[in-house]
Subunit: 420 residues, 2 copies
């Protein structure tokens, strides 16, 4: 079995000065992985001729497939297309199909008045040595080149356009071009134990794993993902073997297992609610709508999610959630009493079966000796019962918000499972 | 002037299979940039001995500073520390300061019962050829190595710990070690014109820029950032020159300029409200709390932001925001009438000066011929006046939500500026 390696090259100064976070590479890696391609390296370089050239040279040696994104826009800082043309020894020619497509987009979709700009027409120019990949979602086409038995594919950096090209053009072509090995993953998601405690708990299992099955630990937001990766030739046999190991692993972490699928807590909670035919809502002070955002990121969440009262101001806690003024004055907004009253008020206002509420100090300001930054109260409940718990996080504002949101979802998950 | 180049190497299979998005590199790049270091390359490799070794060799040739993150956790999939030890020709020894710190964290902060695990104690082992960098936020220390006049720095991959090390340990040491050139950026943020239209509008300006000042276009969410980057020796002179060019650029795009600082719309809107001493709230259907999250991500936003009614279910629109049942039945939730009533109801409920509301179809399901996926209504208003506008986006669910949120913030910004 030959391992098929890929390199991803992303082009653009914005990646090197930290102005943009590279989310494209993760998507490309996921899609390549599904068909058995191992991404060996990811390289980001700036909009500089020599640096791009060097990356093409090096990755052409490292991998069988080289995916290049970015640098194809209509503006002058994009030098990728002429470079690719020279690198692969071609010349730029107008491609009629691309030209028609660009014209169609401008006339029918963007509905721009007046004639197209020279720079937009230029998008229809491609090196005559490439295979053009149709970009249904934008003007810049994908381009496929071959050199020394290696496949180089250049894609626009706009995530939405890149994704369409990967799924509709790149993956089908790679499947025809290469005889792929099988790479399989299984992921178990645990909460309540740190990375080293889990590692200690399953060290015998880990030691006994065969060489073609690897275990990885992925910590995040108070939870740890355990991922098994198997590589082989025979998909059916490999699946059987991997599933046996995965069952063993799941049994070992049964007491802290959240889900055996690689999915977020917002998906897990949604599945439980769907199954039970119940609804939920959120009452958010310190998380400021982030829990609502996580839940509504899931398509179809309107089946079980009704809404959130984001009560950043205390007046909103009083006016809408009916938190008692006395409570806010005597013990403050970050207190057990407040989050319990938030759950109670929000169940009445949003008319849901379940509710989770958060109140805390996310920082950098607002802390005190008694309630330092990172102090958080979370409550979950239904009409019959409400439970609350205090947490202490020690991160920066952004991480505190995310950690609180994930902890709240897990707290709600446990409440639903225990009270339904 | 010698240009100081850096490479960032991130280690971990999770980056190569797309399970984790690399946000560390962006932070590191920003911090390095501030002190005049140009990040030339970013490379991600898996937890494989040969691949890490090769990356160290290559980046040691490409750059003066090599920052390595990840691969330092307490579990068996982390091979980075022994590799670094071998690569730099040292042996692992227990560092007393690190050991004391690990013990302190376990006893005083994590409050773990029982003795420490062998694997936790191992975190206090470092190669005897490195300078230890104190990790105040976790157990894995940073390590600084020198080889052939190049500086190699290894940091843990946990973002919170890495950030602390970069700011408190890495940057001060690099400033002592190198004589840095000056790199300056200016960013103007525009809304309302596409990348190619702006490029056409400012092409003469762009052509006339001197060689040491570069212009880049960064499109995103219906807006375009224009970034000028200048490199030189004399900070004062360079600043004067760059500011003159930037003033020229700003004048050219005056009609679409949102801000001349590299900051998000949520910060821009917050500054305007602070300045005017006014408050705002949000009423979110299709954005599901994402606007609230953007605004509350800004520290101190409680000074002007009161909260959000996330009314994912129509019952919440009726019960809390007093949207008329007849309206929802006759013209539907995604309509001009509904978003106007949402603004009106939310101003009353949240008692704010300004309000913005969203209702739309984010996909992939829920579209119809009349209202396809991507149809969005946005309204903004105060007690005296409410305006609404329809938008059509053509992206996937995630992008539609983000695009709607940013468009809504810009719509509100324009309303406030026109009505105050």
């Amino acid at each position: 079995m030959k391992k098929i390696n890929a390199s991803i090259i992303t082009i653009g100064d914005e990646l090197l000065i930290g102005q943009t976070i590279d989310t494209n590479s993760a998507f490309i890696a996921q899609e390549l992985n599904k068909i058995g391609v191992w991404v060996k390296r990811r390289v980001a370089v700036g909009d500089a001729w020599d640096d791009i050239w060097q990356a093409l040279d090096e990755e052409g040696k490292n991998s069988d497939i080289i995916i290049i994104t970015g640098g194809l826009g209509p503006t002058a800082d994009d030098i990728t297309k002429p470079l690719l043309c020279k690198y692969f020894g071609g010349k730029l020619i107008v491609n009629d199909d691309v030209l028609k497509h660009v014209q169609y987009l401008f006339d029918q979709i963007y509905r721009r008045p007046g004639p197209m700009l020279e720079r937009n027409l230029k998008q229809a120019e491609v090196p005559d040595v490439c295979t053009v990949l149709h970009n249904a979602r934008g003007t810049a086409p994908g381009m496929l080149f071959k050199k020394n038995d290696k496949v180089f594919i250049s894609l626009p950096g706009v995530p939405h356009e890149m994704k369409g090209l990967i799924v509709n053009e790149v993956i089908p072509r790679l499947l025809k071009e290469f005889d792929m090995p099988v790479i399989l993953h299984r992921t178990a998601f645990t909460s309540g134990l740190g990375e080293s405690m889990i590692a200690e708990h399953i060290k015998d299992f880990e030691t006994a794993l065969p060489a073609h099955i690897k275990l990885a630990y992925l910590p995040g937001y108070g939870m740890v993902k355990l991922r098994l990766t198997a590589t082989g030739d025979d998909k059916e046999q490999l699946e059987k073997e991997l599933d046996a190991q995965f069952d063993h692993l799941k049994a070992l972490v049964q007491h802290v297992l959240v889900t055996d699928t690689d999915e977020g807590l917002e998906v897990v909670v949604g599945k439980i609610l769907r199954e039970k035919g119940k609804t939920m809502g959120t009452a958010e002070s310190c998380t400021g709508g982030y829990i609502a955002h996580l839940i509504t990121s899931v398509a179809g969440s309107s089946a079980y999610y009704k809404g959130s009262i984001v009560c950043y101001a205390n007046t909103v806690k009083e006016d809408i959630l009916k938190v008692k003024h006395d409570t806010l004055v005597s013990v403050g907004a970050v207190s057990e009493e407040t989050v319990i009253q938030m759950v109670k008020g929000a169940i009445e206002q949003l008319r849901t079966d379940y509710m989770v509420a958060t109140s805390g100090i996310m920082g950098p300001d607002g802390g005190s000796t008694e309630k330092p930054v990172g102090t958080v109260w979370i409550a979950a409940g239904n009409k019959e019962k409400i439970v609350a718990k205090q947490f202490h996080f020690r991160f920066d504002r952004e991480r505190n918000i995310r950690q609180t949101a994930h902890t709240a979802l897990d707290f709600l998950r446990k409440f639903i499972l225990a009270n339904s």
